[in-house]
Each structure stands twice: as structure tokens, then as C-alpha cells.
Symmetry: D4
Subunit: 248 residues, 8 copies
């Protein structure tokens, strides 16, 4: 219900076309039930190809399958993150063209054709062990309609590998930096380019890495400006906000 | 040294205007000393009004004063964050028009006229106790040339205060959310708007807040997409990346 | 031994119906053995349907089975929490009508008919991944004799879903809020209703969630008044205290 | 604006006593500004003596003073927690009858006469070092209109002191347990009484107490049922939810 | 009330020297008020010189003074730990012969003559910075009636210093080991002697010492058998249990 | 080499029965190789029945088996803690009379007859889930020659169960308290008895228990005097030091 | 490209043997692509036998195999750390002479003959459970061309075992100390010898060991000078820096 | 007592110049009292200029002064770290030529002339706020007789500053890297040079830096080989081990 609807309602009241009690009924729940809800839905629906997202961790195979089943009726793109291979097989049964990125543990189903952006998101990763997070981020960014360029295995232990790829990194509109261990890559990239950086700490490493804590703290304390951070291993979240920025 | 300089050097070599040994001397340190440095400087200098930044914590009053003194010779805008009032007074002695935001503990010196962006950054804060961080962010964003709109004291304990200000928040190009305690504001805003959010956890709170840890973890674990996080109380860092995004 | 018993004992002493030594014997251990024990038992027994509770984690299947076997002789309701399916099968062998809530990992055996309260406990959960905790809480609340209303998947990332269900939440006498990740739901509900809230952080999430730590800290630091917290994933504990409050 | 107000507005519209544009103006911001707010206000206002609360930590003396000044115009009870003596003096200047509980660091201003409940809240504390938290809780509970009984210095190191006071504890409708160090008091009380317990860990202790962490974890892991927990040293929060329960 | 008292009471009942109602009155609160209390008191009182203990941290000077004042009426030894110099002065006003160990921050008042044990407690400390804890332990041990031998500054960085003092350490009945930093001394002593060791981690150190955490964890993980641990800096606690063992 | 050996050597030197160079050879490495070793061995050997201890965690089945094989040649008692069933089977092959306590995961081999102490160690445990630690402690204490009394399932949630068993606890010379969750049992027992207490936190519990951290911190912060603590789940270590105390 | 190459290029320019544009092309990417890379490569290549290192954790068997395949074409020594037996089998298929240290989980392939150093690295370990880390360190040190001496099972619980091996430890040029539990060995060795010590905390232990945290903190807080620390269980890293020092 | 002394003693025994009992007396305590002590002293004394070290934190001004007073009698170099200005003044009273590095908080007293090494230690620091640690390290290294080169303010946010100083860093025999915040500098330097690196995390930073924890974890998890770590802010410790390496 928008202002126009409300005005018409008041006019009906004035003209006696509607009973006061009925008008009251329509108005009283309005703040919660209609307005807010509609507003949100609207600005989500206007963007073609926006996918529905399912976070599969902690859900059963059955649950994932039936959520997908319901979503397929809406005919939109679908992402299911942290999906096991078993989940993929279950989804495949009800949706022939579902895709599965095994490394990134992500199921994607396309129903609207993506119009890729001209500008691109650079995904820069320290090591090959960070690939699962890179893949989750890349798949997400792509189905959200972004062009993606990956620069892998450019950890700071061999700074020349990073320097050799600066052009492709600097050409991006927004950069996702993925790194485990000490997560220094985010600071170093942040010092070399003048683009917003979304840093993803990964749980790659051992011992005093404490499941990604070392790279998380490292990235939060980055001495370089222009770096913000998402949760450990959260490739999806990084791609989501990077997509928002890339599409500005 | 840019490509043009390099070309001229080679021409001098060809023409015998310079000895090979001398040319060699100029070239051999080039990767470290000149090129990289220049490249960075270049893309920083092309943006009018970009300020030099001094992080004052852990520095003596003397150190801050002499760093400012040196920077004044470059005739650029200057920001000094985490500056004590004593530092401000010392700076004031050598720079009449230095400004001090006491709450935000930030000194600003303007030398170039800012051209404010049309789009704006919204700074949304949970409580009045978060104001120091808000002020640090706002001052930084403004001297970087951004229009800023503040929405203060809209913590989730009274969600209606937030809902009542949705229009101004939704109108922004990028949003900074500042919150201490449980930091829930980031998630709630993230669920209501479709803009990139830079979340700043603050150390406001006590007990199990552990100096901002609770809001930091809360924001990193946000169930809403589109949220990334900077260090606890890091208003400057949030404004810096928000400015990058706002100027795209 | 209650006051009446004690009086009778003294009368026997007076009348010489009992030797002083024997009376002494009965009295000397009374503070520990009888009185306290009885007092506790009494105020527990007067409430019909109060169940015996077994915490199965760390117990063997054999241990659980024989504890149940012993309890069955008392002919009261029984709850066994954190019970594996294997444990349920073992219990089933000795008790035909044992029920198992697989998601909630809880076995219930009914021996007294519950008289449900008129007032109800609302269980509000952020996501479907929180369902195991919801089920543990719901089963517990019900066998304790409470009417329960569940409101699931109303996490703060889509605040409208929560607002749309406010009536049912506000209608409760006490509210259990179940949420993982950043646990913001507790604060938001706390700001919208004026009923006591028992918040249950869940271990749902990953990375900097640190096994539920982020939601735990979040809930403890809630900026909304009226929120208290139980242990991570402790659906049983939340239901127990909520039942106490609901039955006032 | 409540339903009655809304109905009258519609009647004025019908009768032509108000222009549609004017009615629209009053209605359009209603979902956020009025209705939600009103709804909350309403169920808050119906309880006489409900105080406004100011959390003073992190605020300046000036800020606290002017917030109180504004609140005084509403003629309601006021609580200001974590208030320094300096803040109290500033408030005193504008409000003759402001009271200050120095130990509890809490300012109270009474404008409505409290109608005390018949039932009472028992506040049970382990040691005299926990008194500041006890006082914050007691003052809060009282201005919210609750009868309060305090049982102090009954820590578990001398269990007989606790047992000797069981009657007064068992007579309460809801119990606040305040304890630092190992926080065992909550579990012991929880095992002895059948009333809801709100446990407040305090930062009393040293070394491996880690600012209240040991008692916090202890209380969250209580083996006794019926215990829920608020933030470290949060006497106010405990009293607030206890008051909700006591008034059921 | 002890068994003898109880017997006499029963005899009076039998002889009609007391009314049953009066006897009942005396007996009914007995489990909590008298017996338990008495039992504890009894086994405490039988040991001459057992002091009353006041933990001063978090108490005001006034509180400490009046607690001491009350205790003086009992004419027993008194210990006040973590006492400031100001507290000592206040106590001195009401008790001429109060002693103050400044380094150990402990006030002692003697009212019964100690009978020192033949066996002794060895207090072994790593460095001179650990002296405050050593002094707290030594004063406590002595007023509890133990002979004490101190071996200071024998940290493991110079193992020969420790080895040179082995005889005195091995001659003790129980050993208190005090160490900060990495706390290795407990393990080394544990490997060299066959006596029970009470280890006290101290907060001496910096950085990754985290306020004594490193030495605490170190001592808990001691590879040597026969080591148990008390709280960080808890010299009093170590001396208390060591005294119990020494007096067996 | 003991003093007697040394004396004989010197006499041989005096009598010319041995060359100085040869005597020198035997003496020069003596401080490290022989004397120290001997000294330790000596004071260990004088106590009949002292067992050799193998900590099996992190060792392979083969390693455990061959260590036992070697030890069997010394004809002494043997303890192997944290031993898997597979390890037990391997040991059984080479030692017919090896015993295995499955719950306590401990292998014992007896070669000397224990002379049990008159005094006993009481092992007091909060719940049945703590039994593995209880068993490890009990087996250890027994093979070290101590009489043991167990009091199980007396957690503080039902304080009467503990009070009912006070006599047996108070009769011990030293007490081991085993508890998980909030570990309050140590403080409560500490307040009721006047014997040294060795507290063992267990990893029983979930969520904010953090693998035993909550009970560990709880016990370290015990408000009762006379409590010292060993590592989480370290039943062996508790029994070892308790045995030292019991045998004084 | 080295200085000589650059000089020749300039001479060609001078002589007109190459067009300026072509020379420019070769020079412009030089800082990143060539020079830096070369520089690093150069000072790495000059040391015979320097191996390529693969960190296998988080990589698939396929990935490890193909990385090795590629490396074999360079004909250099290869180390693959944290390699599973399955990975070894896969590598064995393409490289007959690959070796596998099962305990140390490390694959080594030799292509250049090592010239062992005269000086040696001593690897000193507290217990047999630390052997996997010792083996990783030893294999690494050896393939890097160092002579290695191992001193195992000399934990501080039996200091004489350590003292008996001092000569071999003192004879080393650099010492690696490997210890879990409380990690005291590093401090003790540090106090006895005057050589640089690289300490490796291991995750051996349980409970409050927290996965190696206790030994890590212990070693970082060593009261002995001359100790520095690498990551938990990082035998490879310790050997690498020890090799650097040993070869000085 | 050395071998020669022992030989002479045996000869006296042989010749009857000493009683066996007396010889025995001298020999029996030898392992602990003499030999070990001497051995250590010897290898310390042979190096000219080795200073005595006093760690002042936690010591009183009086204690520091009298320790220095005693040391002065030995006529050796003295270092006092973490010394306050007040301590310096007290030392100055008894030692005219004491020097104080205010930033590094370190007192040095020279009694032997240092012979500086030809090779040097490079101290590389990320920011000017790290200077106190740099100064502590530099003063320590110098009085230990090392040549030192400092490279300050080369944090990774501006990698070109680091690259521009590579020559001086690569020329060192061993490198100390000092950095706070995210501590990435250690990894980056580690990737660029082939020398042993001693990394010192500093407590510079705020929020999620947690007193140096972020840089500590970062350095421990360095992806570059050849990096080992000392305690947070431990400039002295880094210089000590670096000196050991530099003097090889």
C-alpha cells in the first residue's frame, strides 16, 4: 500500500464507499504487514537475475531439496552454498540443469540470462589451498551478473608474483582478496591499488592459525586503508557485497 | 620515471648523449625506487583533495607536530586521527587554520577546496555513546570530499526509530553502520536496504563485550548479505573505503 | 521428616516410647539426609507431570537404558535429552510408548496426562538451521505442560517476516528466542515486545562464529532490556525456565 | 496514535471535518513514526511508574544532564545507571529531589508513586564485594515497583549461611543471584529452589577470573535447571527482566 | 548445637523439663542454622591460631575497618589480604599491634600464639618480581602456624641456581612454586623432588603473557607429576592448602 | 652411583687398586649421567610398588607395546594412561595379567603387592558423565597403594545428595573433586570440609563449556580455601598428588 | 634479466641493433616480471641442493601429484610436507625414488647431492609423542644439506636426562627444541647453552593445552634469552631457519 | 671444579694428603653446586663485553638501584630494560656514566669496550609507533657488540618504501622485523630476502589488535620461510638471539 492507495482509501471513506470499520481494518496492520514488506520486495524484484540463496550447512538433504523445489516455481536463479555432493544429486533429480562447483561446494541454477557487467571483480588469492573459497566467491559473483578475473597463488612470500599481476588487479572496480595463514596479502594489495578491497580470511593453515583467527585479525588490523573484511571462509558474502559495489 | 622518461633515456643512449654506464645506473634501481613509487603516487595525486593521514596513537606530541610541519610544505589536506587535545594545540602553533573535532579526536587541515559528491554516505549509529566513532568517520569522509548524512541513536532496541529513518538510509550510495554492545544494527540495516554496508564495531558496552569483541563477532557473522567489517572503533577506515565506493 | 514427624518423635521421647539414643540417632543426620531432601522432593512432587530428566551426552547406551528402566518404576514422565537414535532404540525395547524427536534428539515418555496452560510460550527462531534447538525446547516445554507456539525463520535479515508475526509473539507470556550467527534476533524482539525473553544462542554459523560464541556474546550484550541468556544450543534449559515463568 | 485515534480521524474524514490531504499527512508516516512507536509506548505507558533509562557510561556529564533535563518535561520516573558522582551533582542542579546510590552508581528520580507488588524479588549475593551490582539491581527493581529482599554474603564457601536463609529465598517469585569468582552460587540456589533465577556474574575476583569470564561461563554452564544469565555486572538488566516476571 | 546438646535437650523433653513446642522450636531450624554451622565451626575452632580471613579487593576502607573491628571482639588471629596501605592505616587506628607486609599487601593481627610445625613449607620463586606473591604466601603460612623456608630467584634460565638449593627444597613437606613468564619452574621442580607441589602462576611478564595466562596454562600442563595449581597471583590460596598438607 | 659406591672408588684410589685416570673417567660424567639419575631413582625406588607410567596419547600401538615390553624386564608395577582398547590387546599379548579399565582407558600391570594405606582418598564426582575421569583417578590411586572411596553423582544441583555423603568425604585424608559444566562442586565441598582438595575439571558439558574451560576457570577461582587444580580431565595427575599427600 | 642483460640491451640500442620501441617493450614490465623475479631466483639458485617445497594440507592428491610432476622437470630437490600416505603413493607412480617419512608425513625427492655441513643442528625433543614434528624437522634439515643430531625424550620432568646430553646439545651451531604440554624445555635448554634456539611448540597434550597454545605461550614468554619461536607443530619452519643459521 | 681439580683431588686421596671422608664431602654435591655452575659461567665469561641484564618491570626503584650497585662491583657492561626515568635517575646517582634511551626505556652502562662486528643486524620496522621496540632492540644489539642498521617506517601499506631499502636489508647477516597491527611486514621481508628473520610483534594498534595478539599470530603463521618470533614488544629478546646469530 502506497500513498496513492491510502489517498483513495480516504476518499472512499469520505464518499461513504467504504465503512469506517473496514477502512480501519485495512489500516491498522499496515505498518507491519504491507508497507515494509512491499517496499523490500520491490527493490529486490526490479533487478533481473537476482538469485535466491540457500545456506545448506546444518540443513538435511531433504530440506535443501524441498526448498529448491519450491523456489523453482518462481523461475528465478538459485544459489545453494555449502552444499554437499549428496545434496547436489538430490537437487539434480528435480532440476536437470543444476550445476555443481565441487571445489566451491556451490549449486547454481540459471533461469534468467545474466547481463554481465563491463567492469569486473578481481579475486586475488594467496595460495592454491584457498581455492574452495575462491570458487564460492567466483560462482556467486558470476550468477549475480559480474565479470570476474582470478589471480591465484600470489601470496606475499613471493611478492614478485603479485607485482607481475598488478595490471589485472588495478583494472578491477572492486577487489576480493582471499588469504589464510597470516593474511598479509590484503594489506599488501591495499597498499598497491586504490580500489575498495573485500578481504576474506580463510581457515587455511594450522597451529596458531586457530581456524582462521590469525588471518581474520590480520585483515581487521590492516595498516592499509580501503580494506574491509567478511567472515572466515565466507566467499559468498564477499562476492555479494563486491557485486553491489561493482554494479554501482 | 614513466614510459616517456624511459623512452627519452633510450633515445639519449642511441644518440650517445649519455654513457651506457650512466643509463644503466639510472635503470637498475628503477623497479624499486622509481616505477612502483611513481605509479602509486600518480593515481593518488590525480584526485584533488586527497589528504595525508597521520595515526597519532603511540606517537609523541613532538613527533606529530614535526610530521605535520613537513606535510604543510606539500600544501595538501591533512588528517591526524586519534589526536589528543595537547597534540592539537601543538599543531595549532604552526598552522592557524587547523581544526579539531574533540569528540572524534581528529585534526583536519584543508588546503584544497573539496568538491563534494552528489551522492552521499549515510552514517547510521546505534547510540549516542558511539558518537566518537561517528565523528571520526564523518570528518574523514568530508575531507575526502563526500557528502555525509548522519542517523544517530537508532539502535535495534527501538526498531521504529530505525524504520522512521529508512528513506535517508536508502538514499545513500554506501552506508556506514556504527554499533557497540551486540552490534545487531548492521544485520538489521543489511536486511532493509540493498546498498553496500561498512560496519564498524565499537567498544561501547561492558562485561562480556570484551572491548568490542561481541559487536565485532556479531557483525562478521551477520546473517544479512552485503555487510563487511572494519576494525573496532575504526571510524577512519570505514570512511576511507566508503569514500572509495561513493566516488565510483 | 517434617515438623509433624519431629513433633511425634518428641512425644514418643516424652512418653518413653522410644529410647533417647534411638531418637538421637534419627535426629543427628536429619539436616542432611532427611529434611533437605524431603523439602526438595516435596515441592517437586506437587506439580503433576513434572518429568525426570536424563542428559545423555557422555553416557553409554547401556547407562541410558538402565537409568530409564529404573525411572519407569516411578511411573512419571521422562525426558532424555541429547539422545542418539541408537539410545532411542534401546529405550524402545523396554518401553513401547517412548517417543523420539529426531531433529531435537530428545526421547519423551508420558505417564501422567499433561494439563496444558492457557497462556503459551512463543519459540521464535532465526532460521531453519536452528530447528534442532527449537525442537528440543518445544518438546521440553510441552511435556512440562505448556502450550507452545513456534515462529520459525524470522531472522533479522528480513525484518518484515518478524514484524508480520508480532501478534503471536506479543500474545505469549514468555518468549524463547533461538538464533545463531550474530544472534541479533534477541535484541530486535526485545525492542518490540514487553515480555521476558529467554535467549538461546546456537552454534549455527561458521568461521568467526566460533561454535556459537558470537551469538552468545551478542545476546549477553543485548541493548534491549528484558533479555536473559542460557548456554549455547541449550533448548532444554530455555524451556525449563520459560515453563517456570509461564506457570506463575 | 491508537486505534481509537485512528477511528476518530476516519470519522472526521467522513464528516468532512478534515481535508483528505491533512488526514493523509497524519497517516503517511504512521507506520514508522507513530503506530509502531505508539504501540510500544502504549503497552509501556499502561504501567504506572515505568521509568526512562539512561546508560551513562561513555556519555559526557553535559550529555547526561541535558537528557535528564528533557526527560523531566515528561514528568515520569527516571533511572540513570553507571552514573558518576560528578554526573549526579550536575543532575542535582536541575532536579532537587534526584537521589544517588553511590555504591550502585545509579541516579533515580521519582515522579509517580510506586505501587509495590505483594510478591517480591530476592536478590542473593555471594560476597560483600558484589554489593555495587546488588545495589544497582535493587534500586532498579524498586523504582520499577517491586518489593525486594536482599540476602547478602551467602557464598558457597559457607553453604550453611545460604541454607539458613532458604525461607526468604524460596518465598520470592523470582530470584536474582549475584556472584563473582567461580559463580557457583547460581547453581546451588538453582538446586534448592523451584523459582526462575536470573544470574548476574560479577567481575569480582582476580587472575583467571578474567574480568568476570569465569563466573559468566560458570553460570551459563549451570547444572541446575531454571537459571538464565545476563551480562557481567549487569544489575540493571537482571532487575528489569526480574520485574517483568514478578509482575506477571 | 552438638550431639551432647541434643541429647540433653531430649532428656529434658523426657523429664518434662521443657515443653515439646519449645523443643520443637529449637530443633526445627537446626539443620540450617545450627548444626551445619556448628559442625563447620567446630572443626575450625579446634585448631589453635586459625585466623579469620578478609579479602580486601573491591571493599572500601570503611568496610575493611569495621569487619576487623567486629573480628577483634572474637580475639582470634586475623588476616586481611590485598590490603592497601590506606586500609592498613585505618586498621592501625583500632588495633595497635596490626602488622603490614607492604610487598605482600597483607595485614596480620596475632591473638593466639602460633605453635610452629617442625616440618616446613618451601616457597620457591623464579624471580624477584614474584616477591609480592611470595610474601603473601609466606605471611599466610606463618600465621597459620607453619615454618617457612624461602628460595628466591631460582628461575630455570639458570638451572644451576635451582640445583644448588635442592637440599632445602627436598627437605620440605610440601612445596609452593611461584613463577611468572613461562612458569617452567613448577615442572622442573616437579621432576626433581617427590613432594606435593602447589604451583602459583604470577602475572609477571608482558605481551603474550596475557596477565598470567601463559604461566597458568604452563603449570596446568606440567609434564611432571605431583603438581597442582591455584589462581594467578593467589599466594594466600597456595599457603592455605599447603598448610593443610603440612599439618597432616 | 651412590655415596657408598663413591666411597669405595676413593678407597680403591687410595689403595692403588685403580688408576687415577680410570677413576677420573668414572667420575667426570657423574654429575649428569649417574649421580642425578641415581638420586632421583633412589628416592623413587624406596617406595614399594611405585609404578612406571606411560602416557599413550599420540603414541602408536607399536610404541606402547615395546615400551611395556622393556618395562616388564624391570619387574615393577606399570600404568599406561589414555590407552585404547587396541593398545590393551597388544599389551595383553606380551603380558597375560595386564588389566584394562575400559571406562578409565587405563592399563595396569601389578608386579609388587600393594600395601594399602589406612587413610583413604575420597573421589567425589558431580555426575555419571564424569566417570571416565573418576576411573582413571581411582585406578591410579589404587596401584599407587591408596585406599579409595568414591562418591559419585553428587552435583550441586541437588545439594542434599552431597550433604548426605559428608561423613565419608570428611573422613578422607585428601579429596579429589571431579566436575564438568560449571565445576561448582569443588567450591561447595571446599566450604564443607577442612581437607586439601585436588580439583579436576572435566570436559563434560557443551556450548560455552568450551572443552572444560568453564569448569577449569571456576575451580581456579574457587571462593573456598584449600582447593588446588590439575589439568582438564587429568584424573591421573590428581591421583598422583593426592597419593603423595595421603602417604605423608 | 640481470645487469649484464640490461647492459647488452642498451648497447644494442646504441648500435641501432634494436628499435627503441622494442627495447622499451622489454624494459617496461621489467620491474615486476623480470628483475624482481630474477633477483630472488638468483640468490636462491646459487645454493646447491635448495629444494622446492609443497605444503600439502588442503590440497587434493591430484593437485600434489601434478605440482610434483611439474617440479620434476626442473631437476631439483623436492620436499612435500604434511603429505598423506595416499599422496605419497600418487607421487611414487611418477617418481620411482621418492622417499616417505611416515611419522613426519614428509615426501622427499633428491636430485642434487647434498654437501653436508660440518657444523650440525641439534634437535632436542621433550617426549616420544613429539616425534612427528622432530621427523619433519630432521628430514627438512637434511635435504637442505645440514648434519643433524637428535636428542629425544629429555623433557624437564627428568632434568637429568637433559643434563646427561648437554655435550651433544652444546656442540651444535643452532638448536631446535620441540616440546608440547608446558613447553618448559625451551627455557631450560636456553638457560644451559649459549646458542640460538628455535623453539617448536607441539600440540601434544590435552585439556588446557588447547591444541598447543600452552606450549606456544610458554615458549614466547621464555625467561631464558636466545629463544625464538615458530608456529605450533611447524617442524619444517624450524628446520628452514635453523638451516639458514647453520650455514652462515 | 674442573677435570684438573678433580684429578688433583684424586691424587691427594692416593697420596693420603686428604681423608676419604673429606674428599667425599667435596665430591658429593659437585654435580649441582660446582660443575654445572662453573660450566655455565665459563662459556659466558669468555666473551668480552657480555652484559648483565636486569628486567625492571615489577621491581621497585630501590631494588633496581641496589642490583645495579652490586653489579658495578663486577666491572662489566650492564643493561636494564623496561626502566622508568625515575629508575634511571636513581642509577645515575651511583653511576655517573649510565646512559638512558628514553624511547627504548633502557639503561646501559659500559665497562668494556665493544669490538663491533663487521657484519650487521638490520632492524626493519613498519611504523614510527614501533620505535620504542626498535630502540630497545638497537641498544641491546649495540652493547652486545653488533653493528646495527635501522630501516624505519617501511610498512606494507606502501610496499615501494620497503623495496627501495632492500639492499641494506639484504646486506645484513640477520634481520629483526618489528611490526604491530597486522604484522605483515615479517612475511613480506621473508619473501624478499634469504636471511634468518627474528620477528617482533608490537602492541601498536587498537581494537581487534588485542594488545599485539593480531601481529603475534600473523608472524607465527607467516607463509614465508625463515621467520621465527619472540614475545610481543620484546625488542631485547630479539636483539639477544640476533646477536648470537650475527656473531657466528
Amino acid at each position: 500500500m502506497n500513498l496513492q492507495d491510502m489517498k483513495e482509501l480516504l476518499e472512499k471513506v469520505k464518499n461513504g464507499d467504504i465503512e469506517i470499520e473496514d477502512a480501519l481494518e485495512r489500516l491498522k496492520d499496515l505498518p507491519y504487514k504491507d508497507l515494509v514488506f512491499a517496499k523490500i520486495d520491490n527493490h529486490r524484484e526490479i533487478r533481473v537475475g537476482y538469485p535466491e540463496v540457500i545456506y545448506c550447512e546444518g540443513k538435511t538433504v531433504e530440506q535443501v531439496k524441498s526448498i529448491v523445489e519450491f523456489m523453482l516455481t518462481k523461475n528465478k536463479n538459485i544459489i545453494a552454498t555449502r552444499a554437499s555432493e549428496e545434496m547436489y544429486k538430490a537437487v539434480k533429480e528435480i532440476c536437470e540443469d543444476a550445476n555443481y562447483n565441487k571445489l566451491g561446494r556451490i549449486i547454481t541454477i540459471r533461469r534468467t540470462e545474466e547481463k554481465y557487467t563491463d567492469s569486473y571483480i578481481a579475486i586475488v588469492a594467496a595460495g592454491t589451498s584457498d581455492l574452495p573459497v575462491v570458487e564460492e566467491a567466483a560462482e556467486t559473483a558470476k550468477i549475480l551478473g559480474n565479470r570476474v578475473e582470478k589471480v591465484i597463488d600470489v601470496g606475499v612470500a613471493g611478492i614478485h608474483r603479485l607485482l607481475a599481476n598488478l595490471d589485472i588487479i588495478r583494472g578491477a572496480k572492486v577487489i576480493i582478496v582471499v588469504a589464510g595463514m597470516e593474511g598479509a596479502l590484503a594489506s599488501v594489495v591495499g597498499g598497491l591499488v586504490d580500489k575498495p578491497i573485500i578481504a576474506v580470511p580463510t581457515s587455511v593453515g594450522y597451529g596458531a592459525n586457530f581456524g582462521g583467527l590469525s588471518s581474520l585479525l590480520s585483515m581487521l588490523n590492516s595498516c592499509a586503508s580501503g580494506v574491509s573484511v567478511v567472515n572466515i571462509d565466507n566467499g559468498f558474502g564477499a562476492a555479494y557485497i563486491a557485486s553491489m559495489i561493482n554494479k554501482i
